[in-house]
């Protein structure tokens, strides 16, 4: 695995760039642990001072240091994205492997469920979820809601891989050697799909962070937890843009774009490394 990473860094520009971006972002989020101010507390520094040595990213109209605010925000956003990704990966893996390996009726049933979820427009559904929980909307809740919508596309992909594995000798061998379906899936097939899962994780994190931003800026999340989304929300509340407090908008937006591009680059370079045709098989698998 490490040698793989080494090669990637050495030979694949996308991966190197992506890795650098993500490292920066992660470092940023880790910095939050050294923040001089607890997260979310207001009016601890002067208002609206532009970026300077003492306040590298300036301060906002709520008397917060944008830099430290941002460290909390990006930490929560990443954490959120990761949670959604992991949860939805689990579902995707389960559905994908099972229906790919078991096939037959199970496959048909699982896939029709899968295809049902694929076409759901997530936004109205999430708005509905918010509609129930309203002020009790917390990010773990939102994460679960999103995870339950974020799996089908990749489940298909995993399925198509599992199907191809199914016909390989080692599957039949392990079958004859009396391994249970579960064992075969977990011990034999999982290793093969993991790289793909990894690549899709990146995309999924992107997807969920993006959606979180979207919901936050229209105030459909808990606006007290600092995330990239809620940061933009508050900036809008104070019309930071027209008030000339551009640094309150620019840095979060810049950072989040960095995150997106970083994750994206990682996922494509992984894909290339794993299998230049994965995109093809992914699409084909969906046909």
């Amino acid at each position: 695995m490490f040698s793989v990473v080494k090669d990637l860094v050495r030979y694949n520009r996308e991966f190197a760039l992506g890795a650098i971006l993500i490292l920066l972002v992660v470092a940023m989020s880790l910095a939050s642990f050294f923040s001089p101010y607890p997260s979310g507390v207001q009016y601890v520094v002067p208002f609206d001072t532009p970026p300077s040595w003492s306040y590298p990213f300036g301060t906002n109209s709520r008397g917060q240091d944008v830099f430290w605010q941002l460290t909390f925000a990006i930490r929560n956003s990443l954490l959120f994205g990761l949670t959604v990704a992991v949860l939805s990966r689990l579902v995707a893996l389960f559905v994908g492997l099972t229906s790919g390996y078991v096939g037959g009726t199970v496959d048909r049933v699982l896939m029709s469920i899968n295809d049902t979820f694929v076409v759901f427009p997530p936004f109205p559904i999430l708005v509905l979820v918010y509609f129930i929980f309203k002020d009790h909307m917390s990010w773990p809740l939102l994460a679960v809601a999103m995870a339950s919508l974020g799996w089908p596309y990749d489940a298909r992909l995993i399925r198509s891989v599992a199907m191809s594995l199914r016909s390989r000798e080692f599957t039949t061998q392990s079958l004859f050697s009396g391994m249970s379906t579960r064992q075969i899936l977990v011990e034999e097939h999982l290793p093969y799909v993991l790289p793909i899962v990894f690549a899709t994780t990146m995309n999924n994190i992107n997807w969920s962070i993006g959606l979180e931003v979207t919901l936050s800026v229209i105030g459909f999340t808990n606006i007290d937890t600092p995330t990239i989304g809620t940061m933009i929300y508050w900036a809008n509340q104070h019309t930071a843009l027209v008030a000339g407090v551009w640094w309150w908008i620019a840095f979060p937006v810049g950072l989040v774009i960095m995150t997106f591009i970083g994750l994206y680059l990682l996922s494509v370079s992984m894909n290339e490394y794993i299998d230049p045709r994965s995109r093809l098989s992914r699409m084909g698998g969906a046909a």
Binding site: D7, R10, Y11, N12
Partner: protein, 361 residues
Amino acid sequence: MTPEPGRDKASADGPRPAAEGAAALTVDRLRAYYMTHYFGVEREVRAVDDISLGVRRNEIYGLAGESSSGKTTFLKTIAAAVRPPLTVIGGSVRYGFLDRDIYALSPAELSAIRWRHLSYITQGSMNVLNPVRRVRQSFVDFAFRHMKLSRRAFFAAVEEHLQKLHLAANVLDAYPHELSGGMKQRVTIALATICRPEFIIADEPTTALDVVVQKDVLAMIRKAQQQIGSSMLFVTHDMTVHANISDRLGIMYAGRLVEEASTADIFTKPMHPYTAHLVASLPKIGEQSRKGSLSGAPPNLAAPPSGCRFHPRCPLAMDICREASPALIALASGHRVACYAANPLSPPGAAAPAEPARLVQ
């Protein structure tokens, strides 16, 4: 002929083959390497290394050798079908129907001779047909512009041609996925011969087929070739197929031509130890066990062995084999071989002229 740019010295002043008038194809010191820089590493794979040979009018010249010996690359090269990373380093490819080296042609000229004069039956013909186009459209795409016929006349000609090859006209309206493997192969053969080209290149056309189908596909190829009296370069690793179809045989090993003779001679008195092995390893009637295969693996063409490329696996290897690589020279009429064991006197390096076409057995 003026040495054209991009021709390297060695072959430029090397001996030229004599009058080629009668030859259908003359290849002279052809070298084509794969130049890759994947993940920053420069690699140079010598898939075709200094090959010279000639194909006579109306003959089927078989090219044998285990997989990854460079056969397919050689075909791509003589068909001027090279795409990076494959690059032609030097040598010439001349066809009887052409007054110039094929690499001297403009793209327009090149596409003008394709199919009209030079057609191709590729390896794995299973998926050489566009899955979303009916067979009829493929015929149009490939042949229509050459036949200079009205659409109706064209299809009439196509159907007639199919009939000759015992193919029902309704295959024209089928999609590839609706045809069996054998059928598809037949269709591609029909497609390759419809323009009555002077030269046909066949690359493992029967490999993917089961024996029964193989037999009549081969028959069909023979038939087509005789009907239109074209020459053919026929490549397969399967010696039994060669025995059935080739007039003359060239044996390739690790990107080089190591022996060339009439099919009969190759099978009866092979001179090169590798050829000998290939022939010997054929199953014979009443034989219990298959002959033990060669020790060692075919060499890595990125870093080929010094001297004779076969020496690491050669039972007769001598010291000289490790230092110098033997040239391909004629030992008997129409029988060329590159091996010190077979001919201690063979000068290193220099290649002999391709067998003159006028020497007929």
